[in-house]
């Protein structure tokens, strides 16, 4: 039927970030064992506490096996047939000047729409660019430091602020948390570190841009964000990878800590290579993201737009420890062709008067399978806890699927937990209504899909809301009216 063809055309646009950058790389031997970890730690010139932590994580990881409870099907990963460290050669130890960066690397980021050169930097957005295993550039660092804000590669934070790292690393996602988090703790090579001092409202968006380039290389980055008392920060993470026939593993960990009265907004636009139309290749994205509302009246929100990856396994969560703290999760997940996404959130209510909101929009097309999995847990001390969950699925075509698994555990009778779910299909009737008004079928689908996602897009920073809509193949010509 023509409707289906039109839908297919729209969502089958080619992946645009699939190019590979030819660079000389510093790569360590294939495989994973204790000496791999010692080698990574040595390359980073890490203090002893880091190496110890990594080795403990590795020992623990050896006792675990891959979690298989998700509604996902992936072929076994050979952890010995991967490289755990790859860095562009020009990258020497220690921080350096942008002028020392390989021009090829700068061009790569420009091609991706992330200019790193001073005169071209995105206004109002500070970027930390992570290329394979290392951070290659951080913009606006100076401007931020006058406010006492620390925004730098993780490896630099380990050198310059070891006490902060020691205090917070693993305090939200311990190395024992799960298989992929343990692996990450053992081998992670870089990531972003961010600290906002008490009372400081970070004046620009902070952003990390991850790029997997090298072949057969896992990417294991770690992000740690701390908002001290009454601080505010809005953070955005973006990611892409070249097109390759074999799967590549991405296992990241993000930890957020909000102290009393602090607010962290964390947004992700995930556009890893999803594999081809037959399901060959693509990134396996196994990510652990968790926020800890440690202080009273603190506030953490996760917003994610997940369009890429062959497999997405991801549950950004909030631990609502502080009394009166607030957790939010806004998600758009698209799975097309043979993509599989099992994603959702956990809201753990511990403190009194804690509130959480979950809004999930799943879009399935082609043979895509989209699963929402959410846990709302209210512990006995969480007097007056409130949760509202809304979970909507949109199906485009006949062969895709949408699944919803809400888990609710309430140990305090004063809690109010609400869950609403809906599933709809872009109907021939809806499309006809649009085309009868002169709107092309492609624009009609775009409009309907973006209408479906609107409530989530509104939570993204302005600049990225536009990018996210484009990502969904949404061309909202002159949407300002």
């Amino acid at each position: 039927m023509t409707t289906t063809q039109q839908l297919n055309e729209l969502i089958n646009r080619e992946y645009q970030h699939g190019f590979y950058t030819q660079l000389e790389a510093d790569t360590i031997p294939l495989g994973l064992n204790e000496s791999t970890i010692r080698l990574i730690s040595a390359k980073k010139n890490e203090p002893a506490f880091m190496l110890e932590w990594r080795l403990k994580a590795y020992q623990h990881w050896l006792t675990l096996s891959e979690p298989r409870w998700a509604n996902l099907d992936w072929s076994p990963i050979d952890y010995q047939n991967a490289y755990y460290y790859s860095a562009p050669k020009s990258e020497k130890n220690g921080p350096r000047d942008l002028s020392e960066i390989d021009p090829e690397l700068l061009r790569t980021y420009e091609k991706l729409g992330i200019p790193l050169k001073e005169q071209k930097m995105l206004a109002g957005v500070a970027v930390d660019a992570v290329f394979d295993s290392v951070s290659v550039a951080t913009t606006f660092k100076q401007n931020l430091s006058t406010l006492g804000i620390i925004f730098c590669p993780f490896s630099e934070a380990v050198q310059k602020y070891p006490d902060l790292v020691k205090q917070y690393l693993g305090s939200v996602v311990p190395y024992t948390d799960n298989f992929f988090a343990s692996l990450n703790a053992a081998v992670f090579s870089d990531g972003s570190f961010c600290y906002i001092p008490p009372g400081v409202h970070c004046p620009m968006e902070l952003s990390t841009y991850f790029r997997i380039n090298a072949k057969n290389t896992g990417q294991f980055e770690r992000t740690l964000i701390i908002a001290d008392k009454d601080a505010y920060v809005s953070y955005l993470e973006g990611c892409t990878a070249p097109m390759r026939d074999e799967h590549q593993l991405h296992a990241a960990v993000v930890e957020l800590i909000a102290l009393e009265g602090a607010r962290i907004k964390y947004a992700t636009v995930q556009n890893w290579y999803p594999g081809d139309k037959e399901g060959k290749g693509g990134i396996y994205n196994f990510v652990t993201k968790r926020g800890d509302c440690r202080g009273e009246k603190s506030h953490i929100s996760w917003t994610q737009v997940e369009t890429g990856s062959a497999i997405t396994w991801k549950y950004p969560s909030v631990i609502l420890r502080g009394n009166g703290s607030v957790g939010e999760f806004y998600s758009v997940a698209l799975s097309n062709n043979h993509q599989q996404a099992d994603t959702g959130t956990k809201m753990i209510h511990i403190g009194r008067d804690t509130k959480s909101t979950v809004l999930s929009k799943g879009i399935s097309a082609g043979y895509g399978q989209n699963t929402y999995r959410g846990l709302i847990k209210v512990l006995s001390g969480a007097e007056n806890a409130r949760n509202y969950t809304q979970c909507d699925s949109l199906l485009l075509g006949e062969h895709c699927g949408a699944h919803t698994f809400p888990y609710i555990e309430v140990k305090n009778p004063s809690a109010k937990v609400e869950h609403e779910a809906s599933t709809s299909r872009i109907g021939e009737e809806q499309l006809f209504y649009c085309t009868q008004r002169g709107i092309s079928p492609e624009n009609a689908v775009s409009m309907i899909v973006s209408g479906f996602c609107k409530a989530v897009f509104q939570e993204l920073p302005m600049e990225f809301s536009v990018e996210a809509q484009k990502l969904l193949g949404v061309s909202l010509e002159g949407s300002t009216g």
Binding site: F432, G438, K454, L476, E477
Partner: protein
């Protein structure tokens, strides 16, 4: 402007329209009346390009061109407009965005510059007043949570803004109170003009008190069983559709 010849239409293998002949000239208003399930909406939607209906015989020409060969959006851009009997809801898409996208798509087709947000708003506000529509409905999602009357007025608003050459209104009068009916009729009468044709599909003759048609056709079981002037509607009102069908039957037996 519109010429339908021996049109046969099926859905799911069931024949709904069984040999329709109809000629509508520029400047005319035609009313199509008939009992429920006689095929009125089928005809209206087929003309607008709904693909679930299959043409098994006959032809439709619009401004001398084969209408059936055109995609729905092409027909819309060429000036064919359908006011839906049951307007569809589109969650999350504002009525304003929808209308502006439609208007600019049609303007672009005619190589006219697209309207910017300001010009569009000026236009739409003025037209909304004319059809008695609350401005707040601009920011609401298309038809979502609209009352029956609001949906119908929204169709008339679109009609007035898109300014088609052939407007087909499918039971736009049903479910309206008398004040709303008058506003809708005003909206339609506004559109009457020498180079525009209007087809009014209606179940009742009530609307025809306010919009006086040039011709009335009665559709029954997929055929036009009678055509006449504005008076035909009055006769139907007096005698009901049975009068026609039995009359028809008597003719066939005799």
């Amino acid at each position: 402007m519109l010429s339908i010849k021996n049109l046969h239409v099926c859905i799911d293998g069931k024949e709904i329209l069984r040999g329709i002949n109809l000629d509508v000239k520029a400047g005319e208003v035609h009313a199509i009346m008939g009992p429920n399930a006689s095929g009125k909406s089928t005809l209206a939607q087929l003309l607008a390009g709904r693909e679930i209906y299959k043409v098994t015989a006959g032809s439709v020409h619009y401004l001398g061109r084969d209408l059936l060969a055109m995609s729905p959006e092409r027909r819309a851009c060429e000036g064919v407009f359908l006011a839906f009997q049951y307007p569809v809801e589109i969650p999350g898409v504002s009525n304003a965005l929808f209308l502006k996208t439609a208007l600019n798509a049609i303007r672009k087709y005619h190589r006219l510059p697209e309207l910017d947000a300001m010009d569009f708003l000026t236009l739409v506000r003025e037209r909304m007043k004319r059809v008695g529509m609350d401005e707040a409905l601009l920011l609401r999602a298309v038809n979502e949570g609209f009352s029956g009357g609001e949906k119908k007025r929204n169709e008339i608003l679109q009609l007035n803004i898109l300014q088609p050459r052939l407007a087909i209104l499918d039971e736009t009068d049903s479910g309206l109170d008398i004040d709303a009916l008058k506003l809708v009729a005003d909206g339609v009468n506004d559109m009457r003009g020498a180079d525009r044709a209007i087809i009014l599909v209606t179940h009742y003759q009530r609307l025809l008190d306010y919009i006086v048609p040039d011709a009335v056709h009665v559709l029954s079981q997929g055929c036009i069983v009678k055509s006449g002037g504005a008076d035909l509607a009055k006769d139907l009102e007096r005698h009901g559709y049975n009068w026609l069908e039995t009359g028809d039957l008597i003719k066939q037996i005799a």
